[in-house]
Symmetry: C2
Subunit: 125 residues, 2 copies
Amino acid sequence: MYERKISPNLNCGLDLVAEVLYGKWKIRLLWFINEGYKRPSELQRKIPDASRRVLNIQLNELEGHELISKVIYPQAPPKVEYSLTGFGRSLIPVIAALGNWGDENADRLRAVILKQIGQNHDQSK
Amino acid sequence: MYERKISPNLNCGLDLVAEVLYGKWKIRLLWFINEGYKRPSELQRKIPDASRRVLNIQLNELEGHELISKVIYPQAPPKVEYSLTGFGRSLIPVIAALGNWGDENADRLRAVILKQIGQNHDQSK
DNA sequence: ACAATATGGGAAAAATTTATCCCTATGCAA
DNA sequence: TTGCATAGGGATAAATTTTTCCCATATTGT
């Protein structure tokens, strides 16, 4: 496991949220688990662009941060189910606010994002 | 400038928000600009842990995404002021929701974050 | 026997982001 | 003249995150 060389800031609320939500797929993992997709393989199918490996890593981190909990059924083949903890559930409205803002402004966001990507190509001199 | 090799997902609202907010200091930059810290040097003093370089880069990206606007006063030494656009201002309640959640759960967050960092040290075998 | 599914982790490479260092320019103060 | 503040960008190193590849276990279906 990678060990940080620069220790994080834990001053204000924004620092703290960042620390648990920063990770390319974490917000979507929380979202899908909240929607009822509980098993790792289901989540991997819902988020096909993420590698299996990172999803495992980020699920572990979310569990370590007590936002989700994990139940391992002693079966073979193994069965695992994640679910939100109360703590994690309290984060859902905040994530919903983010997603709603994105949905409400989807057209404009797509436009400005693509505009900036286009500029990078032109600048390649 | 760095040119992406993997193109981003722009499917749902959460993808789109992530695209404009993902960046270690962007949320704080928006927050402080909203609080009235407008000049680059002020922002650098408010966020001393960030290098001057990244703040410039992320300010440029926020400007490209039309969340902030920039006014250059033709003086010497130069004077620059950023401010939120209407678009950027509409994001403030969402950021506030994030920060409030973090503030409300600050103690618990600090605890779980530090707990997980501690485990990394033990595992170094 | 062989392939497929499910879960998970190690090791190394690749991608991406952030930090460090240096250079430019102007004006003001000691 | 030297030093400091303002603003900003290039080049490169370092840090961090994510991907890719491989291995292991146990069961079911072919």
